[in-house]
């Protein structure tokens, strides 16, 4: 089936089997490998992206369901290149050491962006409950929570 998505602001048309998951289309079809696959049961959240501005696990969405919609992946948060500015959430993860191996990080960052959009001034408990669908094995979440709280209040001006 031919589908057209707006991915990171650019319209892209592609041909996909109806059974293909959005995450596989992003990774294999469009070469956007920043979105990771950490499980096969929609449990880990590593594949979290924004669909029309709201976080979804891209392994729970068929590519054809995203036809005509806007998708933002981790690659769309900050401009590419060594000197570009990071998104405030990405910057907060860096400054607060909210990542170690980095595998959960793209999904965790996208989930945090969505969380802060819904709740710009969350409590620690709000952040912990809000990120419940994203697993991290390295950080024990301590610095992830700190990073999201640090980013809160800095995110109003950003897109997505």
């Amino acid at each position: 089936m031919e589908i057209t998505l707006t991915v990171n602001g650019e319209e892209v048309t592609g041909d996909v089997e109806p059974r293909v998951l959005l995450v596989h289309h992003l990774r294999d079809g469009l070469g956007l490998t920043g979105t990771n696959v950490g499980c096969d049961t929609s449990s880990c959240g590593a594949c979290t992206v924004l669909l029309d501005g709201e976080s979804v696990k891209s392994c729970t969405v068929l590519a054809v369901q995203a036809d005509g919609h806007e998708v933002t992946t981790i690659e769309g948060l900050a401009p590419a290149g060594a000197n570009g500015d990071l998104h405030p959430v990405q910057r907060a993860f860096h400054e607060q050491h909210g990542l170690q191996c980095g595998f959960c990080t793209p999904g965790m960052v996208m989930a945090a962006v969505s969380l802060l959009k819904e709740n710009p001034n969350p409590t620690e408990s709000d952040v912990r409950m809000g990120l419940e669908g994203n697993l991290c094995r390295c950080t024990g979440y301590h610095n992830i929570v700190k990073a999201v709280l640090a980013a809160a209040g800095q995110t109003q001006e950003v897109p997505a």
Binding site: N36, I74, Q90, L99, R137
Partner: protein, 804 residues
């Protein structure tokens, strides 16, 4: 002063590519023309393999090949069986372990055939189409049953007992201590199996050069250097034709400190077929196909005098190897063998461990590897001794700590602890959780008959890391050495390039190593680039595991930098016509003391070394330091953790209310990274205590291989942590560092369980099984109540044991 030197909380150099999604993990690599492998895995724990009918699979479009174990063996695919590098005893029994099973499947997940197809989806479909005729055999699932040899898994070995390893320097002294003891404690503890769950599943790709020659093997591994040797030995490919690259690696925790069937298969098939061959593990596959951790039964006994001074420890282990011995499987319990008396000054010591085969996934290193198990048994048993004597858990520890003036301390287990000062970490941990206030609230609730019980748990640990002096490894029969290599080059433009044999997969070596070098050279860490994880770029290395990277690999980097400085001084002295002793290295400049105008920048010296126009007589060109460092001793980090839990008597639910950790890993290069290691380690250790278990049924079927059923904690289950530290430098290395990768995991499990037992002590409970799920805690409470009603707390313990 330059920012980013030793001790600074420098944000990590590696973060940018990770937070932007630019990092390339194994599955992100574009490999044109690659064929994909799919593994046909046994659904049975123990089964004779009959016919394998691949005709339906081979008829599917895009399916190229299906190989059985017999096919590959007949075709001479293997020069040797897969390696176990740690034969812990001379008479250790180890079955031949082939990448694809030949006659029998010995665990659920054992590979019985491999499909090769044009894409991963076709490979997955084809795996389902391969029909294998199994003849199920009786499985051996329980460790103690395995030791009885009722059913022998590997018939040619004649027994399920792989080895018995004993450390008993003075058996008479142990006997005497128990005979003369005023108090004795005898406890049995079980460690459930754990699934490591690095967030990135494993993966491998073998890419042969187009016209023969070199094969590049990409693998999501902690050990590219060791893997290269093992690939050569197992597949019979000359080592110089192999290059192994670990791309971005999404965590390991020991599970990627191994050499796996899929890695050997990728290389063997890529060389036979002449095209790239790759594979990425699915999470459900990882549950059975990647090693498990822990899995043992411990019997521990303490002898103590009338004041509670521990006079002897006796520990006996029955450890589950799983169906085969993986790379270091048998050695894992031995890494804890010396630590069953831990931080306590115990004169008499006996340890023995028997490793047994079961029809389950092989076990191997999982964060802490032997040391969490040792610390758990000891710290639980010490609490038992305190309860028996009516002493506070803190008091029994104070009476037994090795005093600070006894370091370096010769332990009864035969180690020399480098340095330590344990009691201040206990004091501070208790202070951080508000010990006295919580004890007050605990008493208030107990008096009021509150069903929400508060408990305080503490555990003090010492671990041995910085693996390891090669001669000590030889005495333990480990096949490899424990050194690490580093090269530091100042390039002609003044940029510093570090090549390290350590292989980071989340630990931030690029940042820490840059800080070490920048500190010594007086330059900005941004001018230091760290290369790693590629055997063509860093040919010699011993890789990353066992909290060894900093105390071995980081020290190698420091020593290589010292060589650079010494050479730079010789060159500068020659050029400036002064004595080397008169030169100092300040802010990246070699200056003549007292004459600051007379100086050369490091860059200028590097260029002189590069051009080699005017070097001292006999000096080789280029400003390079190269060191292979073999540590003189292990390092011995330590600390005390304290937790506060609330246990709901009516539901059995345990809530972790507060957690404090006071650790001492010697000098900290980057405290932010140290804290990050602790945070993650604490959650992994607490997860063993509370949530995680690879749950097998009586048929040997793993019931929870997916993340739906295997309970990795989320942010919602854990609190933030209170951390502090003391600094007791290691005298055995010039940086004074010790290592911190596993400390959190080592301390957290006994800390949490001690807290639960403390909460429930008034109900007569002295033990709860792990993981302490609400159901198990509730059952323990119920059986304690029933036993209490039937006649006293003494029987309560027996009832709990029966309930397990």
């Amino acid at each position: 002063m330059t920012a980013g030197v030793i001790g600074d909380r420098l944000p990590r150099k590696e973060d940018r590519r990770l937070v932007t999604g630019e990092a390339r993990y194994i599955d992100d690599l574009a490999i044109p023309g690659a064929l994909w492998m799919g593994m046909v895995r046994s659904p049975f724990a123990h089964a004779r393999i009959g016919s394998v009918d691949a005709s339906a699979a081979l008829a599917m479009p895009g399916v190229r090949h299906v190989f059985t174990g017999a096919d590959l063996g007949d075709q001479g695919a293997w020069a040797n069986a897969m390696p176990c590098a740690w034969p812990v005893t001379d008479d250790m029994k180890s079955p031949d372990h082939w990448p694809v099973a030949v006659d029998k499947a010995c665990y659920m997940g054992d590979i019985v055939a491999v499909v090769v197809a044009e894409d991963r989806y076709t490979a997955a479909d084809a795996v389902d189409a391969v029909v294998v005729d199994y003849d199920p055999l009786e499985p051996v699932v329980d460790i103690e049953d395995a030791a009885e040899d009722r059913v022998v898994i590997h018939e040619d070995l004649g027994t399920n007992r792989s080895y018995t390893w004993t450390l008993s320097p003075d058996p008479d002294a142990v006997e005497r201590a128990f005979a003369e003891a005023a108090h004795t404690v005898r406890e049995r503890y079980r460690h459930q199996r754990l699934i490591p769950v690095a967030m990135e599943p494993r993966g491998v790709a073998a890419v042969p050069a187009a016209h023969g020659g070199e094969v590049t093997v990409y693998s999501s591994t902690q050990i590219p250097h060791i893997l290269k040797v093992m690939l050569a030995v197992t597949c019979g490919v000359p080592e110089h034709k192999l290059r192994v690259i670990a791309p971005a690696v999404g965590g390991g925790f020991g599970s990627k400190l191994d050499t796996y069937a899929e890695e050997f298969l990728a290389l063997a098939l890529a060389t036979r077929l002449g095209v790239p061959v790759r594979w990425t593990e699915t999470r459900s596959e990882a549950g059975v196909g990647t090693i498990h951790g822990r899995g043992l039964v411990q019997d521990i006994e303490l002898a103590a005098d009338a004041e509670g001074h521990i006079t002897a420890v006796r520990a006996r282990l029955l450890s589950d190897m799983g169906a085969y011995l993986q790379l270091v499987t048998p050695g894992i319990p031995i890494l804890g063998a010396f630590l069953y008396h831990g931080v306590y000054d115990v004169p008499a010591y006996h340890f023995e461990c028997t490793g047994v085969f079961t029809n389950r996934t092989p076990t191997d290193a999982y964060r802490g590897a032997g040391r969490p198990e040792a610390t758990y048994a000891l710290e639980r048993a010490v609490d038992s001794l305190a309860r028996r004597m009516g002493l506070d858990p803190a008091e029994i520890r104070r009476r037994n700590y090795i005093p600070p003036d006894r370091f370096p301390y010769s332990s009864s287990g035969g180690l020399t602890y480098d340095s330590g000062n344990y009691e201040p970490t206990l004091d501070r941990a208790l202070e951080l959780i508000g010990h006295d206030r919580v004890r007050g609230e605990q008493a208030r609730r107990r008096a009021a008959g509150d069903t929400r019980h508060l408990g305080i748990g503490v555990a003090t640990y010492v671990e041995m890391c910085g693996l390891a002096p090669s001669r000590v490894l030889a005495s333990l029969k480990y096949a490899a050495g424990g050194w690490e290599a580093a090269t530091v080059r100042v390039l002609p433009t003044g940029v510093v390039q570090v090549a390290s044999g350590a292989t980071p997969h989340g630990q931030g070596h690029e940042t820490s190593w840059a800080q070490i070098v920048a500190d010594k050279l007086g330059i900005d860490p941004d001018q230091v680039e760290v290369l790693h994880s590629d055997t063509a770029v860093v040919p010699m290395g011993m890789d990353t595991y066992g909290s060894r990277s900093l105390p071995v690999g980081g020290v190698a980097v420091a020593l290589a930098t010292d060589e650079v400085i010494a050479k730079a001084k010789r060159i500068a002295a020659h050029q400036l016509e002064c004595a080397e002793e008169d030169l100092e290295l300040v802010e990246g400049e070699l200056r003549v003391r007292g004459t600051p105008s007379k100086s050369l920048t490091l860059q200028a010296v590097a260029f002189e070394a590069f051009s080699a126009h005017d070097l001292p007589d006999g000096m080789a060109p280029n400003l390079v330091g190269e060191v292979t460092y073999d540590p003189p001793n292990f390092t011995f980090p330590f600390g005390t953790h304290a937790a506060v839990v609330e246990v709901d008597e009516e539901t059995g639910r345990v809530e972790l209310l507060d957690y404090a950790a006071v650790d001492d890993c010697g000098v900290q290069i980057n405290p932010m990274i140290v804290e990050g290691q602790l945070h993650g380690g604490i959650v992994q250790g607490a997860a063993q205590a509370l949530w995680e278990e690879a749950a097998y049924d009586a048929d040997g079927t793993l019931r929870n291989p997916t993340l739906v059923d295997y309970c990795v904690p989320s942010a919602a289950e854990v609190p933030s942590f209170r951390l502090d530290h003391t600094v007791t430098p290691s005298p055995t290395n010039p940086l004074g560092v010790k290592g911190i990768g596993e400390a959190g995991t080592i301390a957290a499990t006994p800390t949490v369980i001690n807290a639960i037992v403390d909460a429930l002590a008034p109900l007569g409970i002295t033990d709860v099984p792990m993981p302490a799920t609400p159901e198990r805690v509730w059952a323990a409470i119920r059986s304690a109540r029933e036993a209490g009603a039937a006649g006293g707390a003494g029987q309560a313990q027996g009832a709990q044991e029966a309930a397990r």
